[in-house]
């Protein structure tokens, strides 16, 4: 199925709803076209093109609900999928936490779709990879990378009159360059809604520079260090804190935001007062969808303001129970920073370590969001405002909450991609003191 226009999607979903006999019915309709190319050992490896679409129908009788989906769109199939969801609803156990579908909502227009990006061909992807490979060859390095693009639409409609529609394009590119002797490795990653913003040459050159610069790293003792984290390294730490901003977990006493006696840290100062974290679907550098998958509008929400926990996200059920506004979880994260560049932060550092990437992040203790993981693909020792030499990789054990209490400086935010979740964020480089490295790794 091609990408449907707003009117086409609306007409199709209206037809689906016309078959409904349930108390309530809600329809979600998605479709996407995409392609990818992967390369390694300076040669293309696997690549492909995938086209998929799905119609999801949710029916409810009282507090009994059922969901069925289909990917055929003739009238008989549409009637069948509605009937199937109704059958499931009638067989399902009653869920006391079921909440009626939403009524009509107002949504802002999103800025997530770029026409030219939807038209990327296998040739465009191969051309981009050829550019990247040339830089690897020029630097006598070995490249492995991945380029992926997609264009799609999502829409929803229900029997209470709600209608939502969005189109989005995405492109993601990441590349690792390694020196021929295997002693140096560098990585760079970028993602946009607009393919024309992606400079494959520039991104690959950054990886090449890190690979060359990280060769023959020295071992220094693990311990507590002043650390400058590039935005991609900040992303994988902070997203774990954002994933844990769920109100119910906090209210139930099983979150880092829980306090004794069923209380939470909502409204309390948690981290350094320079920390402001928010989400904004209309941000021009990081546009996201203006509605959540259950139809709630996505608005600009400040999660942490001057170090204080301002908002948590709620399921509609939990919000109703607690009698608060049901703020949905965000699609992205933006952290305010300063005006300094990464180079400025390095210049202002007497002794410290530059971390360009963190890897294999896992929660060690949800009570403190203690995380472990390792540095990867370029870690450097800084002395007297200059990068002096590459250092061997470390394992860290650190909590983003402790880290955000130890801030020395914030740089200028930039759009980055998490190497763990692949989510896109707008984050500054951060300089913190007493970052805890617990052991050394021989990995390059």
């Amino acid at each position: 199925m091609p990408i449907l226009t707003k009117e086409e999607a609306q007409a199709l979903m209206k037809k689906v709803l016309s078959y409904s006999k349930a108390d309530e019915c809600e329809v979600n309709l998605y479709g996407s076209d995409g392609g990818n190319i992967r390369y390694a050992r300076n040669s293309v490896s696997t690549s492909g093109g995938v086209s998929q679409s799905t119609l999801v129908v949710s029916s409810a009788y009282g507090k009994k609900s059922g969901v069925a989906t289909i990917n055929e769109f003739d009238d008989a199939s549409l009637a069948k999928v509605v009937k199937r969801s109704e059958d499931l609803a009638q067989l399902a156990p009653e869920n006391p936490e079921f909440v009626s579908f939403l009524g009509p909502q107002q949504y802002a227009d999103s800025k997530t779709y770029v026409e030219s990006t939807a038209a990327i061909s296998p040739k465009d992807r191969a051309d981009a990879v050829a550019t990247s490979l040339q830089i690897a060859k020029d630097n006598k390095q070995i490249a492995a990378g991945f380029l992926e693009n997609s264009a799609g639409f999502s829409s929803m409609m229900n029997s209470h009159g709600l209608f939502a529609y969005n189109t989005a394009t995405n492109v993601a590119f990441n590349v690792t360059l390694r020196t021929e002797d295997g002693k140096g490795s560098g990585y760079a990653s970028k993602g946009y809604n607009d393919f024309s913003q992606l400079d494959v040459k520039k991104v690959t050159a950054v990886a090449a520079q890190k690979a060359g610069g990280s060769s023959a790293a020295k071992a220094i003792e693990p311990g507590k260090y002043t650390v400058i984290l590039e935005p991609a390294a900040v992303a994988v730490l902070l997203e774990n804190m954002m994933f844990a901003l769920d109100a119910r977990q906090a209210d139930e006493g099983r979150s880092f935001l829980s306090k004794p006696g069923g209380k939470t840290k909502l409204g309390e100062k948690l981290v350094d007062e320079r920390v402001v974290i928010y989400s904004d679907p209309l941000n021009t550098d990081l546009p996201t969808k203006t509605w959540a998958d259950d139809g709630r509008p996505q608005e600009k929400i400040t999660w942490i303001d001057k170090g204080i926990v301002k908002n948590l996200y709620y399921s509609r059920y939990w919000a109703q129970k607690q009698n608060v506004k049901a703020i949905p979880g965000p699609d992205s994260m933006i952290m305010q920073g300063g005006t300094q560049s990464l180079e400025d932060l390095i210049k202002g550092t007497d002794k410290g370590i530059l971390v360009t990437r963190l890897w294999y992040i896992r929660s060690v203790d949800p009570q403190t969001i203690l995380l472990t993981g390792l540095t990867r693909d370029g870690t450097f020792y800084i002395e007297n405002g200059e990068i002096k030499f590459p250092v061997k990789n470390f394992r860290f054990n650190e909590s983003p909450v402790i880290m955000l209490n130890n801030i020395e400086a914030l740089g200028k935010p930039e759009r980055c991609v998490s190497g763990e979740s692949t989510n896109h964020y707008l984050l500054p480089p951060i300089k913190v003191q007493d970052f805890t490295f617990t052991s050394l790794s021989d990995a390059v």
Binding site: S43, G49, V67, V99, D246, R254, F256, P366, R395
Partner: protein
């Protein structure tokens, strides 16, 4: 589905609030439809359309996978069934070689024209990419098997068990936990049925039926006074089995400080124990960091084997194909070529096995039509082999693939994935108690917890579910805040004892992630309780 999405979905460890908006990754269907496989003759027809279309466009090799992937999950918390979901994902993926390069395309439109169009796109991509090749793809020869089939040897198809029976079991599990002091419990039963059809220009038409099951839970205990909380996860394992896994018997249990499970799991009994143990954990002694001798239960050791042996011995990682994502490997070709690389102590024998009954990785044929088998990876402490697929076999001098190719969906391209990698039991007769007896200062670890390892698989850190201090050969009480850090080679060389075959049990992963775009895979790792001397233990308690 990514592991994190699943955890969100199941409410295990993260916000349970997401349970109302289940991310669907397949087409939801009625259970009755899941029980009727797609007609083999129809699949052969579709496969032939794809094979012929690709050939006519210039492909020199083509394989087609027609997959019907069924999932069912029952999700509960405390006294509520939060969700019951049936999903189906059905479609066709075509992989070709044209101009010496791979190309792939997938479609969920299974009419003749759409299949031919996808075949043409796969060939177009291959030709477009061939200008970026350094050398053409070289496939190990593979004979065609004609029309064959393989079915997982399950005793009871879990999809045939009524939803109500499964929901009632989970509610009984939750009830047992709540009655024994738990504050919260999230439990889930996850079922998978892969109905896979493979056809290639080598002349194979292979129909397979694969089943997996994973019952699991997380129990939370909160100390109201201090606000501290502790969790204890199920000691079950995901298995390549039917519903028989959930029908406990005495043979499948090992009694000790806590009951441990083999190829049968008593979920209610485990939940009861877990609630008591989570309570005990709240007031347990925080570990003193330092060097300890570790006694590792198979419910824990599987994950250490997975990360430190399974991944570094994957040939695609060794060669650099995963350099941009999962990473490379310290087990470089020169170490294998030397035939002398000391991976572990003489006691350590690790083998790959794609045929092991009840394991997650067991299939008759892999996703490029290669019959599965067993082979050694580490022999008496020395690296002897890797895990390879058809386009890599020639690099390590093999004239056939080891059958490690897998794709997680019809829409994903198949590539090298981990075989079941297991530790051979010790030859001497030794029970768990015999293992503990000899330890002066140690920790006995049960269940898997936090895990992290570097991109070349040297440095790792693992947590667990239950930690018991061992003093002078006896268990001295429960510990908490325990994680151990080590280096793979150092760790396996510190292995000084392995219990015998009677203690051999499997653990496994339902969500092993690799590749770009990311794919998941399931894999089992068997072992008997093992001892590792002088391992560095850290304390993970912090104040925020």
């Amino acid at each position: 589905m990514k592991r994190r999405d699943f955890l969100h979905l199941a409410g295990l460890g993260v916000g349970a609030s997401v349970l109302q908006s289940v991310p669907l990754f397949g087409r939801d269907i009625g259970i009755e439809e899941a029980l009727t496989p797609v007609d083999v003759a129809l699949k052969k027809q579709m496969a032939d359309v794809a094979l012929n279309a690709a050939k006519s466009k210039g492909a020199t090799y083509t394989d087609v996978r027609i997959g019907r992937y069924l999932n069912q999950y029952v999700i509960t918390r405390e006294n509520k069934v939060e969700n019951t979901v049936n999903t189906e994902s059905y479609g066709l993926g075509i992989r070709v070689i044209a101009n010496g390069s791979w190309g792939f395309a997938a479609t969920d439109k299974l009419d003749k024209d759409s299949i031919a169009k996808a075949a043409a796109l796969a060939v177009q991509i291959a030709k477009e990419n061939s200008r970026l090749l350094t050398e053409p793809v070289k496939l190990a020869p593979q004979k065609g098997y004609g029309e064959v089939s393989w079915k997982a040897p399950i005793e009871k198809n879990a999809f045939e068990v009524p939803i109500k029976e499964k929901a009632d079991l989970l509610l009984a599990v939750n009830d047992a936990a709540m009655k024994n002091g738990a504050n919260y419990i999230n439990s889930i039963l996850f079922l998978v049925n892969e109905q896979k059809y493979f056809a290639s220009t080598d002349g194979s038409y292979i129909d397979q039926d694969i089943h997996r099951i994973w019952p699991t839970f997380t129990i939370t205990k909160i100390d109201a006074k201090s606000g501290k909380f502790e969790t204890r996860n199920a000691l079950s394992s995901p298995m390549g089995m039917g519903y028989e896994y959930l029908q406990p018997n005495a043979k499948g249990k090992i009694n000790g400080i806590t009951t441990l499970y083999g190829d049968r799991y008593d979920m209610v009994e485990d939940a009861k124990a877990a609630a008591a143990q989570a309570t005990q954990k709240v007031t347990a002694k925080s570990v003193e960091p330092g060097k300890y001798d570790l006694i590792l239960d198979p419910s824990h050791l599987w994950l250490t084997i997975h990360e430190s042996v399974g991944h570094p011995s994957e040939l695609d990682r060794v060669l650099g194909y995963e350099a941009n994502y999962a990473g490379t490997s310290f087990l470089t070709l020169d170490k294998w070529e030397s035939k002398k690389f000391n991976f572990g102590s003489k006691l350590v024998n690790l083998f790959a096995d794609k045929t092991q009954k009840g394991s997650l990785g067991a299939v008759g044929y892999d996703d490029e039509g290669v019959k599965t088998k067993q082979w050694d990876i580490i022999k008496e402490g020395t690296l002897v082999n890797y895990q390879a697929i058809r386009d890599q076999a020639h690099i390590i001098g093999l004239n056939e693939s080891q059958g490690c190719c897998y794709a997680d969906n019809w829409a994903s391209v198949q590539f090298q994935r981990m075989a079941n990698i297991s530790l051979q039991p010790g030859k001497e007769k030794k029970s768990i108690n015999d293992m503990i007896k000899g330890v002066e200062k140690g920790i006995y670890i049960i269940g898997d917890g936090s895990f992290s390892i570097d991109q070349q698989r040297y440095n790792f850190q693992f947590g667990g579910q239950l930690f018991y201090e061992i003093k002078n050969g006896k268990i001295a009480g429960m510990l908490k805040d325990v994680a151990y850090q080590s280096n793979t080679q150092e760790f396996w060389n510190s292995c000084v004892g392995i219990a015998d075959q009677s203690d051999y049990r499997m653990g496994g992963s339902f969500f092993d992630g690799k590749g770009q775009p990311g794919q998941i895979s399931t894999v089992s790792h068997g072992s008997s309780t093992s001892r590792f001397n002088g391992v560095n233990v850290i304390n993970t308690a912090r104040k925020i």
